[in-house]
Symmetry: C2
Subunit: 161 residues, 2 copies
Amino acid sequence: MKRNAPARDPGKHDHRKCVHTALSTAEAVCKARGEKLTPVRKRVLELVWASHRPVGAYALLDSLRADGRSAAPPTVYRALEFLLALGLVHRVESLNAYLGCAHPASDHAAQFLICRQCGTAAELEESDIATAIDRHAKRAGFAVERRTVEAMGLCAACQTA
Amino acid sequence: MKRNAPARDPGKHDHRKCVHTALSTAEAVCKARGEKLTPVRKRVLELVWASHRPVGAYALLDSLRADGRSAAPPTVYRALEFLLALGLVHRVESLNAYLGCAHPASDHAAQFLICRQCGTAAELEESDIATAIDRHAKRAGFAVERRTVEAMGLCAACQTA
DNA sequence: GCGGCATCGGTTATAGTATAACAATACCAT
DNA sequence: ATGGTATTGTTATACTATAACCGATGCCGC
C-alpha cells in the first residue's frame, strides 16, 4: 500500500488551508469548553491533519521526537485522548489509527470510507446510516450509545488507476 | 464489566446445542470448500463459541494451554485466520476480539450489538444497513469491499438491571 | 508572598495484541 | 517408500496501549 504520497491530488485542495481550519476550529472548541489546547495537543492535532490518512500513535510519537521534543507513548496517547474527547479526532478501529475530524463542531455519528490502496479516509456523517442501526438495535431491545462504521474498499482515484 | 457470568440467561437457550450446531455447520462448510477442520481449528472454534461474548486471542491461547496442548500465539492466530476466511468467526474491531458467526453459510455483511456491561454481542444481518453505507459510498465514488459495523451500548437485560 | 491544589507532561516499566521466519511433522498421491 | 504440500511447533520480535509515579507549572485564596 502506498503511504507516502500526498493524501489527495494536491491540485484538488489547499491542504495548508485544511490544516489551518482544523487548528482554528480546535482553538474555538477548546475555548468554548474551557479546555486548554496546549503545545503538545496542538502539535499532535496538526500531525494528525498532516494527511487525510489515519495515522498510528507511534508514527505521531516519531514525529514529536523528530521535532526535538522529549516524548514517550503516554505523551501521544494523552494528547489523543484529549482530542478524542472533544471530537477533534476520530479513532479508526479497524486500523488502530487516528484521523482528524472534519466536522468537530457537532456531536455527530461519523462513518469512514477507507481506501485499502492509498490509505486515505473520507468521513461521512449520514444520519440515515445511524438511524438504520438504531432501528434494528431497538427491535432487539438494545440501547445504542456509540457506533463504529468503517467501510474498506477503493477510493475513486484508485479504482481508475 | 462482568465477564464471567453466562452469556445469556441460561433459561433462554440451550447453549450446548448452540455450540454443537456451530461445530456441525463448520464441518459442513469445510467439507463444501475442501478445507480441513483440524483438531486445533475445531477446538478454537469451540472455545470461541463457549460464550456469546467476543473473546481475545490470548484468552483462547490460555484455554488451549489449559487443555495441555503446546501452543503459542501463532497457533491461535492461524486458527483464527482460517476460521475468519471461512466466515465461521468474526473479528470485532473495536474490542480486538473474536466471535462465533451465527450465520456462517451465507457470505453476509454482519453488524454487532455489543453490551458494554455484560460483554455479550448479538449479530445482526440487516441488508438495509449495508445498503445505506454502499449508497453513500457510491455517491462519493467509493467502491466498498468490507464493512465494519459495531454498536456499543446496553443490551435489554442490562438496561433493566 | 505563600501554601495548597489541580493540571499537565516526563519517565520508566509493563501489559496486551499480532506477525515474521524457520524447523519439524503429518498427510496424501503417486 | 518417496516426494510434495499443508499444518503445526518454536523462537523471536514488532506493534499498540496503559499504569504508576514524579516533577513542573500555574492558579487561587488568604
